[in-house]
């Protein structure tokens, strides 16, 4: 049984923390911020690991593996490209 109320609680609190933190992000860094959050949104990878690795029927695990591949691609390229952009911001 999933406790939807505590999930909702977590969701609302996390959203407020997110709003507070993001509001302070430097305007210079909006593009790297987008690619960073894009990589973070690929956290769905944990779901696809379960679907791929647990004992499900093969067609479902194939779909899971495709999802795992897609989110890994997103994580790897998302973090690498963010770092590549941030490296370029120099003071003088």
């Amino acid at each position: 049984m999933i406790d939807y109320w505590s999930m909702l609680f977590v969701f609302v609190l996390a959203t407020f923390i997110g709003l507070g933190v993001i509001r302070r992000v430097s305007r210079l860094l909006y593009t790297p911020l987008m690619s960073l959050t894009n990589a973070i949104s690929a956290i769905a990878v944990v779901g696809s690991i379960v679907v791929t690795g647990a004992d499900y029927p093969t067609p479902i695990r194939v779909l899971g593996a495709v999802a795992l591949f897609a989110s890994t691609t997103n994580i790897v390229s998302g973090f690498l490209i963010t770092d590549r952009m941030l490296k370029m911001f120099k003071k003088q």
Binding site: L33, I49, G53, A54, A65, F69, V76, K91
Partner: protein, 428 residues
């Protein structure tokens, strides 16, 4: 035991994600933010992998290795393609972003101008309503014989809705749309978290969703438009020739003349736009910056929040060309200084410097805050062609008495200016 590990890992990863975003508040600490993000991701993946229900390790290794093989080269895309990549990759499931990508890439068969027709919102909402109604039916009666067909219909309608939602949105609204799509990716992670009872998915998705939300609010504010207006009210349905009464002529300036104006200035404000990105002119702009600062000219870059095709687009391009970020100033900061500016050099920007935004009530950009380029003593504008900008609106800045035009590819024109300045430097 493994359950405790999973819970602990979720808490740790959430904390690291928050720090990761927090460190983005300053370019000095931002790279630490990436390290925190990577660590959080590794913790999350590791803790999931060691759970006892995971038995097929080979498949996981295979998918992850394949992800690396594709992901590493994808991260090497040229930086002008970053908007396309962000729009495409994060939302593999969302056709709307495919259409957005098409618009960004200027694919021929997708109209650049917003596509509008009477009753458009009615059709869009109708499609959405049918999809939602079918969705409810499938959930209520999952075993009915027709539910498989209904499910496929929903998928089809969702794709159609994505397309319908994006085609009325003009290119000038792309920064907002990309931010919104970015937050959708987070919200879908949240939904997955609710279904799988996984709090880490909920927290990380919520952080991502709020980032997209804040960016889109900022972008909307920078255009003086509401959220619903961007999504449902098409932009750029141009009222033809609003200023037809007084057809003023362009005045062209030679490269020699422009170079002279620039080197005699004390304060030069460069206003870059999408045209600079398209022409890949940022490295030439850097050379121009070097030439001018060497002569004691103060050079500032005025960045409009929606310049380019994604939030922060201009900052990244200029940083790529090694221009120090201390030379980049916000619109609100630079506007009070514009009357003291000797030369405003507009490179491939258009709507963000259009004075019509201040008073022309029938203009689609009316009310949008702009960079006051017209208040500078002299305006030099580099423009690819004599066509109007992305939003399809005439720009009277270009026919102002103190404006001189330099027509041509931004990279070539700025390159010529640099050559002129470098060659002439011996004479002074």
């Amino acid at each position: 035991m493994t359950h405790a590990i999973a819970q602990l890992a979720a808490v740790l990863a959430t904390a690291l994600f928050i720090f990761s975003l927090h460190w983005m508040n300053d370019p000095k600490t931002a790279r630490r933010g990436v390290i925190a993000g990577v660590t959080a991701m590794l913790v999350a993946v590791g803790a999931t992998w060691v759970q006892p229900e995971i038995v097929h390790h080979g498949w996981i290794v295979l998918a992850i290795v394949a992800g690396f093989i594709v992901g590493v080269p994808l991260s090497r895309v040229p930086l002008t393609a970053v908007p396309q990549r962000t729009a495409l990759l994060g939302f593999l499931t969302f056709t709307g972003s495919l259409m957005a990508t098409g618009k960004l890439q200027e694919v021929n068969w997708i109209p650049q101008r917003p596509v509008t027709y009477p009753g458009q919102n009615f059709v869009n909402i109708g499609v959405l309503a049918i999809a939602v109604a079918l969705g409810v039916l499938v959930v209520v009666q999952p075993t009915a014989a027709w539910s498989a067909h209904a499910f496929l219909t929903i998928v089809g309608l969702a794709l159609l809705f994505g397309v319908l939602l994006i085609i009325p949105i003009g290119g000038a609204d792309m920064p907002t749309v990309i931010s919104i799509l970015n937050s959708y990716a987070g919200l879908s992670a949240v939904a997955m978290g609710f279904v799988l009872n996984n709090k880490l998915l909920v927290t990380a998705g919520a952080l991502d969703g709020s980032s997209g939300l804040i960016l889109s609010i900022i972008m909307c504010r920078a255009m003086n438009r509401s959220f619903t207006n961007v999504l449902f009210g098409a932009f750029g349905t141009v009222k033809a020739a609003a200023v037809a009464g007084e057809q003023k002529e362009w005045k062209e300036e030679t490269v020699e003349g422009a170079a002279q104006l620039l080197e005699q200035a004390r304060l030069v404000v460069i206003i870059p736009g999408y045209g600079m990105a398209v022409a890949q002119a940022q490295h030439r702009v850097r050379e121009l910056y070097d030439q001018l600062t060497k002569r004691g000219v103060t050079v500032k870059f005025a960045i409009h929040p929606v310049a380019g095709r994604m939030p922060g687009h201009m900052n990244v391009l200029l940083a790529e060309a090694d221009i120090p970020y201390t030379a980049l100033v916000e619109m609100d900061e630079v506007n009070p200084e514009m009357p003291q500016c000797d030369v405003a050099l507009v490179i491939g920007a258009n709507d963000v410097v259009n004075p019509a935004a201040r008073y022309a009530k029938d203009s689609p950009i009316y009310g949008m805050p702009i960079i006051d380029a017209d208040k500078a003593r002299t305006v030099l504008a580099i423009k690819r062609s004599k066509k109007p900008g992305f939003a399809g609106i005439d720009n009277e800045l270009y026919v102002q008495d103190n404006t001189w035009m330099l027509f041509g590819d931004a990279k070539a024109v700025v390159g010529d200016l640099v050559k002129q300045l470098a060659g002439g430097s011996g004479l002074h």
